[in-house]
């Protein structure tokens, strides 16, 4: 465990957990976006977003830079005002409510701790701003610092803390006001890979301890989204292009962009779809035929994409009814605990992730790969809501 995480493995004292949890229960609220559009100088950066985050749920918004995910979060915080639509926190319409009156907790990428305040003063800031009584502040500040494993760092200034420790204080500061919702804007992006993994586990643990806390989590990192989120929204060019529970979205992406953005995907253009029953369909690719899941109930006869994840492609048939495909090896890369093989199939790139091989194939050699029909999904080129 990294030094800055020391102390966090200890169980959170029951009295702290119960205290914070009860408070969260009282204030648990969902977030609603109803046709929310945000524009800067006429340029639309968030286009008709309609989305519901249920109370106690973690929803991750992911997408590339400029996709509008941070704008959506800032609209909930009140830092941008929609030109159209409505934002609700619980039953309350907050579209035109000032940020200080929204009762939200916010954690940002660069922590934004107040540098002239000690950790405990940072955590107490929101309580003081809301006019909390001195005994409430005395009780709640150490409670929140204990919750994030930073009780022993209360007297330190931000400059005396590591990145991970600063982020913990930022989380404690956001939780201290017992917000109705917690907004996390790329909270782990500034941390190195090892600390990020640990913090990800800590965030998951925190939500287990505060199950009624509603969280809107913005990230460009699919791993963070898949690990933490109950539901994931994928954004592109200011629009929500996919929304669903993390597993469904991963297994049955509703369009090409979602398939490529959430995890790595092999996408092959296939034709002449014929439904075979049981949610399966047969499609043609070159001279051969594949059977795959038709989760989105695409109509017969059409063209679509066959989506197979790299780790679902095997060198040996996984079952009797599996699909097979012969391709040419382009490159082989050893990546420690796995081997990545790139194949060329009629000009289409196919990636295979498998356990390290004793005798990997040479570039230019033919190779037959197999995949189970249940692990392959037919995906439309354009949008289908998941």
């Amino acid at each position: 465990m990294p030094a800055d995480l020391a102390g966090t493995a200890n169980a959170v004292p029951a009295v702290v957990r119960v205290g914070v949890e009860r408070a969260a229960d009282r204030s648990s609220s969902g977030i609603g976006f109803e046709d929310v559009t945000v524009a800067y100088n006429g340029l639309v950066v968030l286009d008709s977003l309609t989305l519901a985050v249920n109370p106690g749920e973690i929803v991750a918004l992911i997408g590339p830079s400029g996709s509008g995910k941070t704008t959506a979060l800032r609209a909930v915080a009140g830092f941008v005002r929609p030109v159209r639509g409505r934002i609700t926190i619980g039953p309350r319409d907050v579209t035109n409510v000032a940020p200080h009156a929204r009762n939200i907790g916010m954690v940002v990428q660069n922590y934004a701790l107040f540098p002239h305040m000690r950790a405990e003063e940072n955590v107490a800031f929101g309580l003081r701003a809301r006019g909390a009584a001195a005994d409430v502040i005395r009780q709640r500040v150490p409670e929140c610092l204990r919750l994030v494993g930073m009780a022993s760092y209360a007297k330190r200034y931000p400059r005396e803390l590591s990145g991970g420790q600063q982020q913990r204080v930022a989380i404690a500061r956001a939780l201290a006001i017992r917000p109705q919702v917690l907004l996390l804007d790329e909270p782990l992006s500034a941390l190195d890979a090892q600390i990020r993994r640990s913090m990800l586990d800590e965030l998951a643990k925190l939500h287990r301890e505060l199950p009624s806390l509603t969280v809107l989590y913005v990230t460009h990192d699919q791993t963070e989204a898949l690990t933490l989120a109950d539901h994931i929204g994928i954004m592109r060019d200011g629009k929500l292009v996919a929304f669903g529970d993390a597993q469904s979205l991963y297994r049955y992406p509703p369009n090409r962009f979602s398939a490529e953005f959430l995890g790595r995907a092999n996408l092959l253009p296939v034709q002449a779809l014929v439904a075979t029953g049981g949610g399966m369909a047969r499609v043609r690719f070159r001279d051969g035929a594949f059977v795959a899941r038709n989760h989105h109930a695409l109509p017969d006869g059409g063209e679509c994409l066959l989506c197979v994840r790299p780790h679902d492609l095997c060198l040996a048939p996984p079952d009797a009814a599996s699909n097979a495909l012969t391709a040419t090896v382009k490159s082989v890369q050893w990546q420690g605990d796995m081997q990545s093989v790139e194949l060329d199939v009629d000009g289409h790139l196919l990636r295979v992730s498998c356990a390290p091989m004793h005798a990997p194939p040479s570039p230019g050699a033919p190779l037959t790969v197999h995949f189970s029909a249940t692990q392959a999904t037919l995906v439309p080129e354009t949008m289908v809501r998941g």
Binding site: A77, G78, F79, A98, P99, H100, A101, R102, N103, I104, G105, M106, V108, Q109, N110, A112, L113, F114, P115, H116, F125, G126, A129, R130, R159, A170, R173, A174, I177, L183
Partner: protein, 291 residues
């Protein structure tokens, strides 16, 4: 071997460095230290050759010196306080509530610093003077015989002029300090429930304190030595130390008294400059986490 190789060029370069320092030192000595030494000598010897602090004692005991010193400090402190308040408010508005033209105004501050100080006094004479725009308009409007606004030819007029002239000296470092505050800090503070006034007092002000103190110290130094504005305003009872030196030396030909007051003025300036440097160094170290 490595030591020898490293030492030889240093030994060779030392005389060269000294010879480069000599010309500017000579120029500085001729233009600054020599006249300053002459002033100190005149203050200590008067017209004779014997060193004495008798003249200092008599100047320190004189009412006009007390009056001038009091005026100088009162005007300098009040003008500095005015500069700090006005500079802070204007800088916060320009930096955190952007409005059309705010960038142009921020750039104009530099231009303002470059202007001669008496220009403002001249402009104020046109606006607030006895026959200025404001008084003429009010006299016509209210059918008055005497000008109703009569503050310019007093300490207030000097202070207002100095606040106008020296506020940019506070704004410049403040705007630079504000540009270093992360916008996310302000947004997070607002999300935690802080209203704008609390954000200004608890987040922005502490971050700007070094710039505020440094700008204020500089203002104090400049206002203590301000001569043009006080002379141009020409307020009857407003005699400051620089003006008293001018009066003694040019109008009364009492060079010894002028030199004694000049030495006091220089000592005051050096003390204020030391304070300024100390503040800048102290906050600079704190910012780097060293203090």
């Amino acid at each position: 071997m490595a030591d020898i190789a490293l030492r030889l060029p240093v030994a060779d370069e030392r005389p060269a460095v000294n010879s480069w320092i000599a010309p500017p030192l000579l120029i500085l000595a001729a233009l600054f230290f020599f006249p300053l030494a002459l002033i100190v000598r005149q203050a200590l010897t008067g017209d004779g050759d014997v060193l004495s602090i008798a003249k200092f004692a008599s100047v320190f005991a004189s009412r006009e010196f007390h009056h001038a010193l009091g005026n100088t400090l009162t005007i300098a402190l009040a003008a500095t306080a005015g500069c700090l308040v006005l500079g802070f408010v204007l800088s916060v508005l320009i930096a955190f509530t952007p409005f059309p033209g705010s960038r142009v105004i921020a750039r104009m501050i530099d231009t303002f610093i470059a202007l001669p100080t008496f220009l403002v006094a001249l402009a104020f004479t046109f606006i607030y003077g006895s026959a200025g725009m404001l008084n003429e308009s009010l006299k016509a409007l209210l059918h008055l015989d005497l000008p109703p606004v009569d503050f310019l030819y007093s300490q207030w007029g000097v202070m207002l002029s100095e606040v106008t002239v020296y506020t940019p000296f506070v704004m410049r470092p403040l705007l630079a300090a504000f540009s270093l505050i992360e916008p996310a800090q302000i947004e997070v503070a607002a999300s935690l429930g802080a209203r704008p006034l609390r954000i200004v007092s608890r987040i922005i002000l502490p971050a700007a304190l070094p710039a505020l103190v440094a700008g204020g110290s500089l203002c104090l130094l400049l206002t203590v030595n301000e001569f043009g504005i006080v002379l141009f305003i020409g307020a009857k009872d407003v005699i400051t130390l620089p003006l008293l030196i001018y009066d003694k030396a040019i109008q009364q030909f009492d060079y010894t008294t002028a030199c004694v007051i000049a030495v006091v003025n220089v000592a005051l300036s050096i003390a204020l400059y030391s304070l300024y440097r100390f503040v800048v160094a102290y906050f600079g170290s704190r910012r780097a986490g060293l203090v």
